[in-house]
Amino acid sequence: MKRIAGILLAALVVASMASAQALLINGAGATFPNPIYSKWFDEYHKKNGNIEINYQSVGSGAGIKQVTDGTVDFGASDGPMSDEQLKAFQEKHGFGILHFPTVLGAVVPTYNIPGVTAALNFTPDALAGIFLGKITKWNDPAIAGANKGVNLPAADIVVVHRSDGSGTTYVWTDYLSKVSDEWKTKVGKGASPNWPVGLGGKGSEGVTGQIKNAPNSIGYVELIYAVSNNIPYGTVKNSSGSFIKADLASVSEAAAVAAKTMPDDFRVSITNPAGAKAYPIATFTWLLIPEKFSDTAKRDSIKGFLNWMLADGQNYAEQLSYAKLPKEVVAKEKIALAKIQ
C-alpha cells in the first residue's frame, strides 16, 4: 500500500511540475523520421525546458488525418499531402496547412541470392519488370545485362514488399511510376498499392525477415534501416545512366538538384532526378504545420523549434544516417516560416 501511495504521489508531483512549467505540443505522423524527430524534440527540450514536444510515430496517413481532425498540433508525412487533402484541411479549418521539409531519406533494393555476394546493379526497367511480375528469373537479360561477371541463377524471383501502408512504399512506387509507364497505369503510386506480385512483410523487419528466409528474393527497405542493420543492397541506375549506390552524398545530391526547382509549397517529389551523381529513389520528409494557431505561445514555440531545426538541428542528421537539407531549401523554408500566424 505504502509503495503504491508513494508511486501515486511521485506521479502527481511530476504531473503538477509538468503542468506548471512545460508547454506541451503534440504531433503525430511518419515513422521513418522518428529516430531523428525523437532526438530533435529531446535536444530542443534540453535547451528550452519549458517546451515539450510529444511525437507519436503512427504513420504518415494517420498523421495527416490527425492534424486535419485537429487532435494534434502538427503532423508529419513521408509523402506530400494531395490537393484533395489540402482542400479538406482548408474546408475544415478555414485556413491552410504548410509543408516543411526536415531531412532526406532513401529507399534501396535488397536481395538474397545464394552464391551471389557482389552488389547487384539494377536498371529502372529491371526493377519495374521484377515488381510487375514480368521478369521472373534472376538470369533474365534485363538483370544480367547490367551485372556482367556475376553468376546469376536461373531461379524464380521471390518479390517481397511492405504489407503495412508505408511512406517507404510511397517513395518506391513513386519512383517506379516515373520510370515505367506500365507501372503508372497498372499500379500507380501510394502507401498501399495493389501489388501485381509478391509477398507482404509487416514493417521493414518483416520485409528483411522474409528476404532472409526465402532464397532468391528481392525487396526494398529504407537506407537508414539497411545501414543500421548491415543489410547489403544494390545500386540503381539514375537518369544520367550511372549506377549509384545510395549514401548520404548521393541522396543530398538528389536534393540539391531538386532545390533549384523547389516550388513555394515544398510539395515536391525528388525521385528520378537529373543529377549525374544523384541517387534516384530518395525523398524529403515533411512536417505539416497549420497556418494559424489560436494559442500564440504554441505558435511561437513551434516557430522557434523550426528555426532551430533548420540551423543546429540539421547537424544531428548525418550521425543518424539521414541526409541534410540543401542550403537553398533551408533559406527558402526560413522565409516560409513567416506564413505561420
Binding site: 488525418k65 501502408g165 501510394g190 498501399s192 498499392p193 495493389n194 507482404g200 525477415g209
Partner: protein
C-alpha cells in the same frame, strides 16, 4: 415481529438492488455489442453505398484506384480458421481426454499449469515463433514434402514460400489448442462420478466408459471450447499477418500466400488516407463481425442437431 419483518423487507430491497446492478452489468454487454455494430455500420456508409454487394463478391483490393473487394480476405480468414480447427480440435480434445480421464492427477495438474501458461502467451510471440521456426520448416521440409507426395491434389500446388494459408493455420492451431484442452479438461472432469461408475458396473471397459458416456455427456462444454478457439482464430491479427504472406489471393492451394480480414485492417488502417479506403476497412470490420456471428450460429446449430440425435442417451 415488526423488527424481523423490516429486516426481511430490507433484505428484499437489497435483493432488488443486487438484481438491478447485476442486470445493468449483463445488459452492458449487449449495449457494447450493439454500439459496436452501429459504429461499424455508420463508419462504413460511404463504402457500403458505393460498392453494395459487390464488396463481398469482387476480389480486387486497390487503394490507389479506390476499388475495394473483400472476397480474398473473407476467403483467407475462413480457410486459416478452418485449417487451424481441423488440426487443433482432434489434438486438443484427445489431450483433454488423457488429462481428465487417464493421466495420474499430479501429472494432469502439472500439465494443466503449462497449458494455462501457453494460453497466456501474447500472440506476437506466436508470430515470432512462426517466422523463425515454422516458416523455415515449412519451406524446406513440409511444403516440398507435401508437393512430392500429395502434389496431385490442388490443395498442395505452387511454389513453396514457407508463408501461406497452411502456415497461418498451423500457427493458429498452436495458439488455440491450449484453449480447447483447458476448457475441455475442466468440463470432462466435472462429469459426475456416477456416470462413469454406472458405465463400468454395466461391464464397459475404461475406454468405453470414457468415449461412450463421459465425452457425450460433456459435449456441450467441449463445443464451447471449440467456439472459443474459433473466435480466437478468426480474429487473430498479429501472428497471422507475420506468417500468411499478406497477398490478397484466392487459391485452392494451401501453400499459396493469402491475407485475412484482421491482418489487412491492422496493416492498412494507419496509412489509409482516402475516406473511401478507411471506410472500406471499417466495412471489413463489419464483415468480420458478421462472419464470426455466422460461424458461431452454424456451430450452435450443429450442437442442437447432434444433441437431438444422440442427446437421449447423453443427457438422460
Amino acid at each position: 415481529m415488526a423488527g424481523s419483518r423490516s429486516f426481511l423487507s430490507r433484505l428484499r430491497e437489497g435483493d432488488e438492488i443486487a438484481r438491478l446492478i447485476t442486470f445493468l452489468f449483463a445488459i452492458s454487454v449487449v449495449l457494447v455489442t450493439l454500439l459496436l455494430i452501429f459504429e461499424l455500420w455508420q463508419g462504413s456508409a460511404l463504402a457500403r453505398h458505393k460498392f453494395g454487394l459487390q464488396f463481398f463478391l469482387t476480389r480486387v483490393w486497390d487503394p490507389i484506384a479506390e476499388q475495394f473487394g473483400a472476397l480474398p480476405f473473407i476467403y483467407g480468414t475462413f480457410i486459416t480458421a478452418t485449417v487451424s480447427l481441423v488440426i487443433a480440435v482432434p489434438l486438443g480434445i484427445g489431450a483433454a481426454i488423457f488429462l481428465a480421464e487417464l493421466a495420474p492427477v499430479r501429472l494432469s495438474d502439472t500439465l494443466e499449469f503449462f497449458i494455462d501458461l501457453l494460453a497466456a502467451v501474447p500472440s506476437v510471440i506466436y508470430g515470432l515463433l512462426g517466422v523463425f521456426i515454422v516458416v523455415p520448416l515449412m519451406r524446406v521440409y513440409v511444403q516440398p514434402g507435401l508437393k512430392n507426395t500429395l502434389g496431385f491434389l490442388p490443395l498442395f500446388t505452387g511454389p513453396a514460400y514457407g508463408v501461406g494459408f497452411l502456415t497461418a493455420g498451423i500457427v493458429l492451431a498452436i495458439m488455440v489448442i491450449p484453449y480447447i484442452i483447458s476448457v475441455s479438461r475442466e468440463v470432462l472432469m466435472s462429469v459426475p462420478r456416477d456416470q462413469r461408475e454406472a458405465a463400468l458396473s454395466l461391464g464397459s471397459t475404461r475406454w468405453e466408459s470414457t468415449w461412450k458416456v463421459v465425452v457425450p455427456f460433456a459435449r456441450t462444454g467441449i463445443m464451447g471450447s471449440i467456439f472459443l478457439a474459433l473466435a480466437r482464430a478468426l480474429g487473430e491479427t498479429m501472428a497471422v499477418t507475420m506468417v500468411i504472406g499478406n497477398t490478397p489471393t484466392i487459391s485452392a492451394s494451401l501453400l499459396s500466400p493469402g491475407y485475412s480480414i484482421a491482418a489487412v485492417i491492422a496493416n492498412e488502417f494507419t496509412e489509409a488516407t482516402g475516406n473511401l479506403h478507411t471506410e472500406a476497412l471499417i466495412e471489413l470490420g463489419l464483415v468480420l463481425f458478421l462472419l464470426t456471428f455466422l460461424l458461431n450460429g452454424v456451430a450452435r446449430l450443429l450442437i442442437v442437431i447432434t444433441a437431438q440425435r444422440g442427446g437421449g442417451t447423453a443427457h438422460a
